[in-house]
Symmetry: C2
Subunit: 403 residues, 2 copies
DNA sequence: TCACTTTGTGCAGCGCCGAAACAAATCCGG
DNA sequence: CCGGATTTGTTTCGGCGCTGCACAAAGTGA
């Protein structure tokens, strides 16, 4: 016997694109959905009805709060408040975070952040997934998928984490397999997908943050150590042929710079990270505090020698600008988003950074590339959720029926 | 009255992909077409019938030359020998080339190459298009489009050629508009599209040459002066948000290197071009001959001091490898193709180049990225034709009916 | 109150494809 | 030389997903 599938003779092929529009906030009403999808009102209506039947959205027939426009007001489309969610996990240098994330990138529930570091990836991921299972049980929400963000490149299609890892895991850890095993062990029968944290942050920013509307979005972020990059092309993450694209940490930005473990000198990685800022400003790092925190404190003015800090900022901004210019010349993005310390550097000297990028990238035109800070709080976590939502956005009916 | 369109109730949506398979030589028979398209034999049959009706292919019911396999032999699909063509024009530093190119990238007819240099883009493009019109008249073939390759970045969507131009044209020449005007003036009522020569060469290599089957193809080539790059992603040219992607000439590959007009030192552009080879080998350039020819003569052993040449080659290969490694870290391609002088450098020291790229790119894995020479003769010209064929590949029925 | 504008819905129809049955062409084994 | 086995091409039927159209519904403005 065939499963009891919603019978509708319209609106299956356009279902995914429609859900994506609602998901990214670009379809507040049915009328907008019609124009954005480029279909007839009949089709858009059938699509909305089916998405509602699937429990993903709600349709509010009441007028859209006196829009002021002429004609019959369009029905509002809202993300179902008690709809399904996905499990999102982010592992970082100091622990992990777990959350349930609904459509629209909205964090529905969060487990207390864990701040312990464990050298065994199976244990830390297992703990996180267990916390997620408890969250699911407590909220009673249906779970459609799971995503994991790790601070390392993830090789495709094997799903192994590669050096340099910014957690104390063994190189080549098969995070994809581990994540899947943990999910089945915890009784969460959903597929799990893994990705690099900066990549996923870029995806989240593109869908719900400062990257909305960009066609070619470049995202660069420095965390505690090392630089990560990501590229979103036409709404899709570009991870290269083996998942190793945008490993931009070793572009040379200062020929006479610091020695890097890669063998070269003046890599972006060692020239623009928190330790470089501390060192350039003449501050001895306090091993008890994270370098990122100390660097941010410096930028916040928490230092007696303001001139030394300003000089250090100028130097790092120049190096960063050089690296960004190289990426602009290679990728020609139409927007750049910075995270981590790079975001703070942008805030400290926006004009200097923009002019360096403009000068160093060809044609001068590139000076018009907008450089913006991240706008989402836990963008890697939301990005992990995006990874989990992707199959639903691609084919909502099948995924919903499969559960 | 509706136009007399071929009436078929099957095979319209799959028509484009099917033609692309035939075009790239991946569908020699109807059976292969069926499996490659992932459709039923019924659909593939209808598609083949319609492509035949459109005059694009011929179906040969005779057996495929005793294939040896069991079962009924599949019908062969061939590109129609007298089918439509496109007009391809390539402008380079020394003149222009014109050809008619059929499906499959086959050059059907060529006008005598022009070797005069003209500072007026309208005149040189106009001459080329006139030569193309004569070719069309002489052969009597139907023309479906026109493509132009220029040795400069082409800004999208304005279609202007940008500095550095490697012909003596004014910066910002509106080549797209000029090309279109020339086409209408010559009585060729087809749309014209323009692109950078290296980009188009990469497209041609991906479809018909050494790049076949690559998902993420990186192409780097040096011509007479300056380095060009191109990236083909999933069969589509990636030109960035404004057509300026892969302007890789100003990646820094030698901190202590030559001064470049961009203001930096040791750019890939000035470190790996023919003049750099001559200079490093201690040869005074002969202004009467092209630097590329002299450099190639050097590589061919046409020089008394072989040791100096070998040292120069080693140095340029190291610089090139450094630049390629940076691109590998940013783009993670699964194949690299080199053209121009870079191709000759690869031939001269393949192992050295590959090991430099492997050492300088992260993970060591990248050492497995195949680096190959170009395999097509006039790849920019064929690439210009690809540009013109693209609308046909996207929707054959509409383009064929529109004429 | 009556146009006018815009939006939602039901119905007919059609393009495009899959499933299945049938026909054709070749190889293989006797 | 002759029947299976195997693979391929063709025909027919039906369904899915959409468009186009007509009509109803819900607001604004004179």
């Amino acid at each position: 016997m065939t499963p009891t599938r919603i019978k509708l003779d319209r609106g299956r092929g356009a279902l995914g694109p429609a859900l994506e529009l609602v998901h990214t906030g670009r379809a507040p009403t049915r009328a907008v959905l019609t124009t954005e999808l480029g279909v007839t009102r009949a089709t858009a209506g059938a699509v909305a009805t089916e998405l509602q039947a699937l429990g993903l959205i709600t349709v509010d027939p009441r007028p859209h709060a006196a829009s002021g426009a002429q004609g019959r007001p369009s029905h509002r489309l809202d993300i179902a408040p008690d709809g399904p969610v996905v499990l999102a996990v982010q592992v970082h240098a100091d622990g992990y975070r777990v959350a349930l994330v609904g459509l629209g990138g909205r964090i529905v529930a969060t487990a207390p952040a864990c701040m312990t570091v464990d050298a065994d990836p199976a244990r830390i991921i297992g703990d996180a997934v267990t916390a997620g299972a408890e969250l699911l049980h407590a909220t009673g929400r249906r779970c459609l998928g799971a995503g994991l963000a790790v601070p390392s490149a993830v090789a495709e299609p094997e799903g192994t984490a590669l050096n340099p890892l910014h957690v104390a895991w063994p190189a080549g850890a098969r995070v994809h397999d581990i994540f899947r095993d943990c999910l089945t062990e915890a009784g969460i029968g959903v597929p799990g997908r893994c990705g690099n944290d900066v990549n996923l942050a870029a995806l989240a920013e593109h869908r719900h943050g400062a990257g909305q509307g960009a066609q070619h979005l470049l995202c660069v972020a420095t965390g505690h150590r090392g630089v990560g990059g990501a590229l979103v092309l036409d709404g899709r993450l570009h991870t290269g042929s083996a998942g190793l694209a945008l490993e931009v940490g070793h572009l040379i930005v200062d020929p006479a710079g610091r020695a890097c473990h890669c063998g070269a000198r003046g890599c972006l990685d060692v020239e623009t990270d928190p330790l470089a800022l501390l060192e350039t400003a003449g501050v001895t790092p306090d091993p008890a505090r994270s370098p990122l925190d100390q660097a941010r404190a410096l930028l916040a003015g928490d230092h007696p020698e303001a001139a030394a800090v300003a000089d250090a900022v100028a130097q790092l901004v120049d190096r960063l600008g050089q690296g960004l210019a190289a990426m602009v010349n290679v990728l020609n993005p139409d927007r750049i988003i910075l995270g981590g310390l790079h975001q703070s550097l942008l805030a400290a000297a926006p004009d200097r950074l923009r002019s360096v990028v403009a000068d160093r990238s060809l044609w001068g035109r590139s000076g018009s590339v907008p450089i913006l800070p991240c706008s989402l709080g836990h963008n890697s976590l939301v990005g992990a959720a995006e990874l989990a939502w992707q199959p639903v956005l691609d084919d909502p009916a099948t995924v919903l029926a499969g559960g």
